[in-house]
Amino acid sequence: MLKDITIGQFFPGDSFIHKMDPRMKIIATLLYIIMLFVASHPLSLIVGILLLVLLYQVSGIPLKMVTKSLKPVVPVILFTSVLNIFFVSGEALFKFFFITITKEGLTLAILMSLRILCLIAGSSLLTYTTSPIELTDAIERLLNPLKKFKVPVHELSMMMTIALRFIPTLIEETDKIINAQKARGADMESGGLMQRAKALVPILIPLFVSSFRRADELAMAMECRCYRGGDGRTRMKQLKYGHRDWIALAVMVLCIAAVLLLNHILG
């Protein structure tokens, strides 16, 4: 039933990557994305692909998960490839009536497809190896300097945490309400789109009402525990960069350098 929905795509483990500081994981992922866009030749992208294969090997994430994360982007890749192959002008490789396939078009199509695949697989690795709470925590700390510009960083991350905390609770509640309405004869499985949308109303209204009640109680419980926003707050878990994180950073920087070198050689 609804209860089985997993939140995020965290895949618990004990690897080098799992143990990295989540902040560095976010930074490394951003560097990886930059690297993908710096690579201007399909052959320079090989660095990115090799790195990705290596990282997945280290993380112990099953290959099944990777293919699962890539499935939804296949249509996008096909679409951009078709556009690139047929509509980029340059040195013609193949001509058939009005269709011309150029060398530049083909290269660009391969480059773009590989880029998108690496981008999705690479950023999925971040969410596979980092729990949602670590992610919110890391984002809060990375964005901390923005507090100077009056960005409510702590409040945003608190909202994220509470949302994550209440998703399973609300799913359970939705389940109960659906059953309660079914027991009262509500029909949710038949009818057209409009009818099904209408059938959701008796589920959403009780859910909203109870969410407001929950919010009220939670706010009071938080007040009772001396909550007063982010000022003067300490944290139990301190994030600390370790040697692992510096190794990861060095690897990323070296890879970007390698890509730049390859770009230069391949012209």
Binding site: P132, T161, E217, A221, R225, C226, T234, M236, Q238
Partner: protein, 298 residues
């Protein structure tokens, strides 16, 4: 023992904006709670007990009169967080008071709010989890725990702040019997072995019977305030305000009404069984005596 919480002549009413007839919850109420006591507050729905409880840690302020917590006036805004550190509060629904997605993170929440250094948070959190007996679940997600375990997480979150008093607003109302027992055991341990003052609002009479003192509220005023033995001997009065008495007390009361002599201040099942045994032995002995006399007379 000194008075830890003292309410003097407090009145409170829920007033909607510009409402000419605000709903009076209580008026001119006095109550003292001593340090180290375990007090139960009874009363049917709408008797004002939850509202009263919210006055104990400055969530609500009295319209008239004053409440002091360890000598601190709750109306003094500067002392707000000091008061809330001294008096922790646990609510009915454990789901709605757990903030974090990991058990130990939630226990740490209050300590993080008051700015305790990280290393000390760690030791206090481990200590609190140990005390309520859920150390093994510290890395779990709260929604995977049972109701009783969740409520103990909530209690751990409070005791980590080292309060001197905990106010519990129907902490067992949403739990199954096993969960209720777990939670009551934890509360009793905190009171007896760690000297924490407990104020517990409950609908379960057997829970109230385990306290040192029982306060019965009815429509905003205190009806009786005494030991459980004394309070539960007023069976008829309790029933008239919509409350029950512990089953053991009720059996003795009914037997008394039926003409058997039974003590009225029986609270525990064991006590009741002993008294019943005595009653049976007495009756049996009396019958034997009567039979003997009868045979002699022949």
């Amino acid at each position: 023992m000194s008075d830890f919480i003292e309410a003097r002549g407090i009145s409170f009413s829920y007033a909607m904006d510009d409402d000419p007839n605000p709903i009076r919850v209580f008026e001119d109420l006095d109550l003292k709670i001593k340090e180290g006591e375990m007090v139960a507050i009874l009363g049917h729905n709408g008797s004002g007990k939850s509202t009263l409880a919210k006055h104990f840690n400055a969530i609500l302020m009295p319209d008239e009169g004053m409440i002091t917590v360890n000598g601190m006036d709750t109306r003094n805004g500067d002392l707000l967080y000091d008061i809330r550190q001294e008096v922790g509060m646990v609510f009915q629904n454990p789901d709605n008071q757990i903030v974090a997605t990991v058990v130990e993170e939630d226990v740490a929440f209050g300590l993080e709010n008051i700015g305790v250094p990280p290393a000390e948070i760690r030791t206090r959190v481990d200590d609190a989890l140990e005390r309520v007996g859920i150390s093994e679940y510290k890395a779990h997600a709260p929604h995977r725990l049972s109701g009783g375990q969740k409520q103990r997480v909530a209690i751990a979150g409070i005791i980590a702040m080292r309060p001197r008093c905990i106010v519990l607003d129907e902490p067992t109302a949403m739990l199954d019997p096993a969960g209720r027992r777990e939670v009551m055991k934890t509360i009793l341990d905190l009171n007896k072995n760690h000297g924490i003052t407990i104020v517990i609002i409950t609908h379960y009479m057997d829970e109230a019977a385990q306290c040192d003192r029982v306060v019965v509220m009815d429509s905003g005023s205190i009806l009786i305030d005494s030991t459980p033995e004394d309070v539960f001997s007023h069976v008829r009065m309790l029933k008239s305000v919509g409350l029950d008495v512990p089953q053991a007390t009720e059996i003795c009361y009914e037997l008394n009404k039926a003409g058997y002599t039974m003590p009225t201040e029986v609270l525990s099942v064991k006590n009741c069984a002993d008294e019943l045994q005595k009653l049976i032995e007495r009756t049996y002995a009396a019958k034997r005596k009567a039979a003997k006399l009868g045979s002699k007379n022949k």
